[in-house]
């Protein structure tokens, strides 16, 4: 049975990895600069999805306008949260911003629960997305869009960071905040940009997830966990590593529970465990992650 389902498992893994990658990118960016893991980042995914639901389904806006508005608002919300909750604790010990982000995560989930209720929402009520058959697997239009959009955004972000003025400032800040400040880079402004970009990316991921699956107030939590695993696996400050880590996790999950070994397959209850198991194994041999740099290399570079 394994041979016949391999192509489908591969595509399932790529789709999952694409979504995790979009969320992981923002998380990796934030960690690289602000040096803390924003536990509320997954909630920006949820926020983007619900904002889009409000504009597109409840208010009946055209789809393009609804997407643009939801993504921009998610980005703006990220900036506001950064100013209100994270900036005041930027200089505090690492545990403090992490706890603040956990609190923000719970607050956002509760707000959405209060406003929209617990019922699962759907963006394409009852509409079946047509599946196309290619070389042993079936992929729907929406899944093609997810992969194309995710990969395009990843490439655009890489180009932005490499060639744009703000992108260079972000990279400078990631190397050293103090030196960047001395060189005249406005740290607060750059961090705001960062949160805007990261939250907007998460918002886009939320909209894509919403089209592919469903919306519920807790949808961000599992994505945060997967994105966290992806960035640790890939090398916490390396955005390319975050993307690679995301795809590794997506593929590992689907192959892990999909394949049979001697007539048996891994029970679904271990699905999340597979991702973390792989993360642990990789870190045992490569503590800096797949694409991360060792601390000695970083010191030599400085």
């Amino acid at each position: 049975m394994n041979g016949s389902i391999l192509p489908q498992l591969f595509i399932n893994g790529i789709i999952a990895g694409a979504i995790y990658g979009l969320v992981a990118l923002g998380l990796a960016l934030m960690y690289g600069v602000a040096r803390f893991l924003n536990f509320a980042h997954g909630e920006m995914t949820m926020l983007g999805a619900y904002l889009f639901f409000t504009f597109y389904v409840l208010l009946g806006w055209p789809i393009v306008g609804a997407i643009i508005s939801a993504v921009i608002l998610a980005g703006v919300a990220g900036c506001i949260f950064e100013k209100l909750f994270f900036k005041p604790v930027r200089k505090a010990k690492d545990i403090v911003p992490l706890v603040v982000s956990i609190g923000l995560s719970i607050l956002l989930q509760s707000m959405v629960l209060l406003l929209f209720g617990a019922n699962i929402k759907t963006l394409r009520s009852g509409v079946i997305s047509v599946g196309h058959r290619f070389a042993g697997f079936i992929i729907t239009d929406i899944q093609i869009v997810i992969i194309v959009v995710a990969l395009t955004l990843m490439v655009l972000l890489a180009l932005y960071l490499k060639y744009s003025k703000t992108g260079k400032a972000i990279r400078a800040l990631a190397d050293s905040q103090d030196i960047a400040q001395i060189l005249g880079i406005n740290v607060n402004q750059v961090i705001s940009h960062l949160f805007f970009i990261g939250s907007a990316l998460a918002g886009i991921a939320g909209i894509l997830v919403g089209f592919e699956q469903n919306l519920e107030p807790t949808m961000g939590l599992s994505l945060t966990i997967k994105a966290f695993a992806a960035i640790v696996l890939g090398g916490v400050t390396n955005i390319y590593g975050a993307v690679l880590g995301a795809f590794v996790i997506g593929l590992a999950e689907n192959f892990g529970i999909g394949l049979e070994f001697f007539g048996h397959s891994i029970p679904s209850g271990y699905k999340d465990a597979i991702a973390f198991f792989i993360m642990i194994i990789v870190l045992l041999f490569r503590p800096q992650g797949l694409l991360g740099r060792k601390k000695e290399e970083e010191s030599r570079k400085e």
């Binding site: 049975m1 389902i5 489908q8 498992l9 399932n12 789709i15 999952a16 209100l84 005041p88 607050l107 509760s110 707000m111 629960l113 209060l114 406003l115 209720g117 617990a118 019922n119 699962i120 759907t122 009520s125 009852g126 509409v127 079946i128 997305s129 047509v130 599946g131 058959r133 079936i138 729907t140 997830v209 592919e212 699956q213 469903n214 519920e216 107030p217 807790t218 949808m219 599992s222 689907n254 529970i257 999909g258 397959s265 029970p267 679904s268 209850g269 699905k271 999340d272």
Partner: protein
């Protein structure tokens, strides 16, 4: 100072919003002086909340009809056993309820052993695990458990629908485990073959890999139970899976049609035969639609009956526990779900079952 002011401002914005929304969604008639107090441990958030919200609404209509002599106090178990136990403690120790309406197999099983200690009767409005049978002498199940429900659909799948090879896909929870176990036992006893048994996590939203594995040995049909079935079936159709789906009573949830749309057309499932022709049933449906602008589901009717039943017997018995238990075992109560609600020693109800299906976006009786 600035930080304190910011924090206060945020709280001032959030609090009225929270208060208004909570009051709108969960109006509770907590009259501490009411003669009879009935508690509810329902699933109102998270996976399974679709069932819980339906039950809450049915209970609320019963509460309104009974009036101020009943106080209905509902707690959210969030589909979590630990929270269900906390809710139970609060309802019994703080609110001193006289009876409880419960939902969720895991949650109901968790509170069952404590009913005798706390001297309170509970009626399960929606859980179907076979383990609930005889779980406590003070626990009664107004819905047929999997021993009836899943057995019926297994029997019909083999005898009436002529399926010989069936794959199963279900959510990894107590109720679904019981349902699939009973289905498998009955179906194989009749001579059928179970070709796959896939379980997805209740936190999953991507079911494709599990669905892929149901296709081995090319089954005649797929038996699916648990949460988010509309989404499961829709993803199956998008993957090109063409086999018919069969399910059990909890499938009848309007959200499954909202999520699944065209994909769930033709799904055949087992269901309690309700008193649909009775004037009380029609009146309830009209009240429900007018108040909530949506269709009721099975758990709206069961929760309504639970509240009415508890109120009636607790009032008659002046809250005497043994008297209420005795009435539940010997008296026949007429409700929306049956005009013959009476329980056996194991707390089970014998229910007439029927096959239903989805046609043109509606749940209708199945006709060949």
């Amino acid at each position: 100072m600035k930080k304190i002011l910011t924090a206060i401002t945020i709280l001032l914005i959030i609090s009225p919003l929270a208060g208004c929304k909570l009051r709108k969604d969960n109006p509770q008639n907590i009259d501490r002086e009411a003669a009879i107090k009935v508690g509810g441990i329902l699933i109102m958030t998270g996976k399974g909340s679709n069932w819980g919200v339906q039950a809450l609404r049915g209970a609320q209509i019963a509460n309104e009809e009974i009036g101020s002599s009943l106080s209905l106090i509902v707690e959210d178990s969030q589909y979590d056993t630990k929270l269900a136990l906390s809710a139970f403690e609060k309802l019994t120790s703080v609110d001193h309820v006289d009876g409880i309406v419960s939902m969720g197999s895991g949650m109901t099983l968790a509170i069952a052993p404590k009913l005798e200690d706390k001297k309170v009767i509970a009626i399960n409005a929606g859980a179907v695990s076979p383990k609930l049978s005889g779980a406590s002498k003070y626990l009664f199940n107004i819905v047929p458990l999997s021993t009836q429900d899943s057995k019926f659909i297994a029997d019909q799948a083999y005898q009436k629908l002529d399926y010989r090879r069936v794959a199963m896909i279900s959510s990894n929870d107590e109720a679904s485990a019981g349902a699939t176990q009973v289905f498998q036992e009955e179906f194989t006893k009749l001579g059928g073959v179970i070709s796959a048994d896939e379980k997805f996590l209740s936190t999953d939203n991507d079911y494709r890999t599990y669905l892929l594995k149901t296709q081995k040995e090319n089954p005649d049909a797929i038996f699916t139970v648990g949460t988010s079935l509309g989404a499961v079936i829709k993803q199956a159709r998008e993957m090109g899976i063409k086999q018919p789906f069969i399910s059990n009573s909890p499938f009848e949830l309007p959200d499954n049609i909202t999520q699944g749309g065209q994909a769930v057309e033709g799904v055949v499932y087992s269901n309690m035969k309700l008193e649909e022709d009775s004037p009380e049933f029609q009146t309830f449906q009209k009240k429900y639609r007018d108040k909530f602008k949506t269709e009721p589901s099975l758990y709206s009717y069961t929760a309504y009956d639970c509240v009415k039943l508890l109120y009636a017997y607790l009032s008659d018995c002046k809250k005497d526990l043994e008297c209420v238990r005795n009435k539940l075992l010997t008296n026949r109560f007429s409700g929306l779900t049956s005009n013959n609600i009476i329980f056996d020693e194991k707390g089970e109800i014998q229910s007439a079952m029927q096959l239903k299906t989805v046609k043109d976006g509606q749940f209708v009786k199945y006709e060949e």
